[in-house]
Amino acid sequence: MLQLLLILPLIGSCLLLLIPENSLENKAKIKNIALSVSLINLILSILLWIQFDSNTSDFQFVYEFSKLSFCHFNIGVDGISLYYVLLTTFITPIALISNFDNINKNVKFFVISFLLLETIQIAVFVVLDLFLFYIFFESVLPILFIIIVVYGSGENRIRSALLFFLYTLAGSLFMLLAVLQIYTYIGSTDFILISLSEISLDSQKVLWLGFFLALAVKTPLWPFTGWLYRAHSDAPLAASILLAGTILKFSTYGLLRVLISFLPDATNYFSPFVQTIAIVTLIYASLATIVQQDTKSLIAYSSVCHMAVVVLGLFSNTIQGIEGAILLSLAHGFVSPALFICVGGVIYDRLHTRTIPYIRGLVTTMPIFTILFFVFTLANTGIPLSLNFIGEQMSLIGIWERNPVASVLGATGIVFSACYSIYLYNRISYGVYSPHLKPLQDVTRREFNVLIALLIPTVILGIFPNVILDSLHLSVSTLLFNLP
């Protein structure tokens, strides 16, 4: 099952290589094949979800590929990784559809790179080996680099892509060293073997710092936030969606899988440090968000704020906190792409600007768009009935039990998020219709369907989060209580 999920996009890519990109029909065919492949993958992953047994904390659907000598190519999912796999298979078709109309050159390589990215992202979440985790964690970089440089907009895109590449690579270097150290120490990088062996506190601290540096860059935490808004504002829409939707979740997953489960003592030791950094990130990024004048970088900064709350929840050492953090990261994976589609897709396609002061009064000609945009804006502020609310409140409830002050400071995000989200929404949507804009067409069927597809899980899971929580309980409890 899992191996099928991994292989299918690769097969799709090979198939696409055979089709020449010479006519409009072929271009349409390429897009349709890519979309079908990603949709089949989505259906497969939903089947996986249905078959998933939430009454065990073991890895399920385990598949061993024993031909590799240097590491264990084992794959499997548990409650934690299952939802990130689902998120990936859900976001990929959305990313593909969102850019259907405005990428017309090199379509084939565009869609192939997204299918490859899908495989790699699923692999990050399902591999059961630290070294392979590192490899897949890193291998999204070159592909995204190429996507940003080739298909991106803006004159600074090469510098943005370079920064994105350098920041992440520089951070990951320390992760590689830590992985190698673990290998020499334990003799294997297999997840289960690592979790069974005991590492002394002193070595845990060093290893922890190595991993944390890489994951902090990816999250991103202060002071490594510089790459995010650049990469987002210069990337094509689909890449922004993937970045916000799934690639930022690598760090959430890594923090859970590596730091909290393999290095629990060091995690405990460094917890106040992480909380401090997360709060600094939250307040720093929130204040910076309020003054952004570029729609995409505003939303990128707001991602930073939300991920800081996720980190707070993860380091709360309580089940509510960790489950809340997982929910919030999933919610962010729905809402942030939707907002990117709103400003970077719908508005940018029509106006070719991302500067907020240039846009005004869109509700006059685009009422349906405004409704959708409003709902997502509200979800971004963590309004009840959205998944963000559940995630945020549970994270902060969790951290309260460990450190009330951190919780209070983390709750300032509630005010800040309202300030910047509503500023963006109000400024763009309301006011007299700007005389410098030509009358704009409301959302097309394609855009509407994409946005609705993102809206439904946000709201449904906000009303019934137990759908997810039920299969998280055992895995998260094991994470916390499985002391060696």
Partner: protein, 661 residues
């Protein structure tokens, strides 16, 4: 039936909002009004069953969040408090729906408007019927959002935009406090169900309860417009008048009160929290009344009056008289909605003029509206045996009956506020209806009484403003009434209704009434017989100072705009430009790139092609190698010696910094 009360307004809202194009304006009117009226009728039945027959209902729909010991359900509780809130919410909402069919008839966005109104009612009902704090919070945030939409209803107006953003963000400050309160409640009680929390209140540490009480108060302050989070309410008058009547007078602003009244079983165990609540309430009542004296916008006068009355209610909560506070919530909803709808009728018939200085003499043109406004004002200033009398007067008496510092403070400010209330109410009546006409002639020629859809709501509300208190006071605040059952809790130490009713000196009891009479007479006298006196008053420098201060609402807005918002934006700018795209960039990627380039250039410069230079390098290298090799013998220190570090740093700087040549 109980769930239908909640669902019907939502259905109306969805139909009107999403299918507005299909069902048209009349369809939207019909569907939303029908849903609301049906819901009101069902609520009346619920009031009979739950309230009068005393059988609370609890409905558990499904689980919401389950995580370890955290269990939160979609659960609704219909007890006496809830159904008592249903009455004003649903009755006034229905009447305002009917009123709006005429008032908004010329607006091109009727469907949207009615959808918002019904949605607001839905969230308000969720708020008052939730059985745990999270379900209540759904309604709490929902009404905040719909309030944003409704203030922003005329979205092209910049003032409306600003007021809406202010309302939303200021409410979020309260929401933050409230959320932190939830975290604290959860940490302390392990649950946020009303049933669990309230039954454990007496066993908990008083300091913790105080913190929780103050956090809940923060939430209530934002929603119920108490100092210092009040400044959004006057601004929210930018919305359509029915919205002001429904949301910013009758229902939304009482949400904070509802929260405090609902939390009575925990508030009662913290005397500190109660003291703070009393002080906040009394100060707000006085503050808003003084501001209301000098406002010139018809709706803003009534808005400040609303803040002032909310202050009374909060004061009553602080004095532990929850049933009296609730009675004032209900009574106030009726007469304040009447005042707002009356004001709406005046504004509508008088060419959308809102400035009271440009009106006058309308009594002859709008006799019915005048009567309605007069009834509302008289009820507001607690004329004996009208609705307002039964709660407002009682609150002031109860304050004195406490015989404590906070009680006396509340009594003194409450009595003065009563006089001020009478003054600004009659100032409004005088300026709008009684004095010489000050408006343009065409406005007078076109002014007319509105049609039946306006008159019926005004009439019903006027009836309620006259009679509701008389009929309901024994249920709500009667001595020995057990109407509220377990839904309210007053600690036996704090019961002082009998004290207040039977043992206060006559003068103390009559003082508020005397002051009200005095205030009303002064207003009529000043604005009819001595109009020059007021003008002369503002000519003196002290008078002008006071006038500016009061008209500027105690300069709260100045402080917020200049220091908090301005400071925040400035800080954000510094963070974004100086730190994020400045220092961090310089040290980080840009600095790294620079360092690498410079090092490369510097090192390549060493390659001069001159033999003697190379000889120097060789000698230096040999010396260094010898130095490194015999290092430990020579200096007997580790490699991390300070001297080594200095040499190392010096070398690094020489290599990396760009050389001049």
């Amino acid at each position: 039936m109980y769930i239908s009360i909640l669902i019907l307004p939502l259905l109306g809202s969805l139909f009107s909002g999403l299918m507005g194009r299909k069902i048209g304006v009349t369809g939207a009117h019909l569907i939303t009004c029908t849903c609301l009226i049906l819901s009101s009728l069902l609520a009346s039945v619920a009031y009979y069953e739950v309230g009068i027959c005393g059988s609370p209902v609890s409905i558990h729909l499904t689980n919401w969040i389950d995580s370890e010991f955290m269990t939160i359900s979609w659960e609704f509780l219909f007890d006496q408090l809830t159904v008592s809130m249903f009455i004003p919410v649903l009755y006034i909402s229905s009447l305002i729906h009917i009123f709006s069919t005429d008032y908004m008839s010329e607006d091109p966005h009727n469907q949207r408007f009615f959808s918002y109104l019904s949605l607001f009612t839905f969230f308000m009902l969720i708020l008052v019927s939730g059985a745990n704090y999270f379900v209540m919070f759904v309604g709490w945030e929902g009404i905040g959002v719909v309030s944003y939409l409704l203030i922003n209803f005329w979205f092209t107006r910049l003032q409306a935009n600003k007021a809406a953003i202010l309302a939303l963000t200021m409410n979020r400050v309260g929401d933050m406090g409230l959320s932190i309160g939830f975290f604290a409640i959860f940490a302390l009680f392990g649950s946020i169900d009303y049933a669990t929390v309230f039954s454990l209140g007496s066993f908990m540490n008083e300091t913790a309860i105080t913190i929780i009480g103050l956090l809940l108060l923060t939430g209530a302050m934002a929603k119920s417009a108490q100092i210092p989070l009040h400044s959004w309410l006057p601004g929210s008058m930018e919305g359509p008048t029915p919205v002001s009547a429904l949301i910013h007078a009758a229902t939304l602003v009482t949400a904070g009160l509802y929260l405090l009244v609902r939390s009575s079983p925990i508030l009662e165990y913290s005397s500190t929290a109660l003291l703070v609540i009393t002080l906040v309430g009394a100060s707000t009542a006085f503050f808003a009344a003084t501001c209301g004296l000098v406002q010139n916008d018809l709706k803003r006068i009534i808005a400040f009056s609303t803040i002032s009355q909310l202050g009374y209610m909060v004061m009553a909560v602080g004095l532990s008289q929850y049933n009296v506070a609730l009675m004032h919530v209900v009574n106030h909803a009726f007469f304040k909605a009447l005042l707002f709808l009356g004001a709406g009728a005046v504004i509508h018939s008088f060419a959308d003029q809102q400035d009271v200085r440009k009106m006058g003499g309308l009594v002859n043109f709008l006799p019915f509206t005048y009567t309605a406004m007069l009834v509302g004002s008289l009820s507001l200033l607690a004329t004996p045996f009208l609705t307002g009398f039964y709660s407002k007067d009682l609150i002031i008496e109860l304050a004195y009956g406490q015989y404590s510092f906070s009680g006396t403070y509340a009594y003194i400010l409450g009595s003065i506020t009563a006089g001020l209330t009478a003054f600004y109410s009659f100032r409004l009546i005088s300026l709008v209806f009684l004095t010489v006409p000050n408006g343009p002639k065409t406005s007078y020629l076109n002014s007319h009484e509105a049609n039946l859809a306006v008159i019926i709501p005004l009439f019903i509300l006027a009836l309620f403003s006259i009679l509701f208190g008389y009929f309901a006071s024994d249920i709500f605040v009667g001595v020995g009434s057990d109407f509220f059952g377990n839904s309210l809790f007053i600690h036996p130490n704090n019961v002082n209704l009998i004290e207040a009713e039977f043992s206060l000196p006559l003068l103390i009891k009559l003082l508020p009434a005397i002051l009200s009479l005095l205030g009303a007479l002064t207003a009529v006298y000043l604005y009819h017989y001595q109009p020059n006196f007021i003008i002369n008053l503002t000519e003196t420098s002290l008078g002008r100072e006071i006038y500016t201060f009061l008209n500027g609402k105690y300069l709260f807005d100045v402080v917020y705009n200049n220091y908090i918002i301005g400071g925040g934006l400035k800080l954000g700018y510094i963070i974004s430009k100086v730190l994020d795209r400045g220092v961090i960039e310089l040290i980080g990627p840009y600095g790294l790139a620079n360092v690498l380039t410079n090092t490369g250039i510097n090192i390549s410069k060493l390659d001069t092609g001159i033999v003697t230079t190379y000889a120097l390098y060789i000698v230096l290298a040999l010396l260094s190698i010898i130095f490194v090799l015999f290092n430990s013998l020579l200096i007997e220190n580790s490699i991390f010696d300070t001297r080594h570090l200095i040499v190392f740093l010096f070398t690094l700087i020489t290599i990396t910094f760009p050389s001049k040549h």
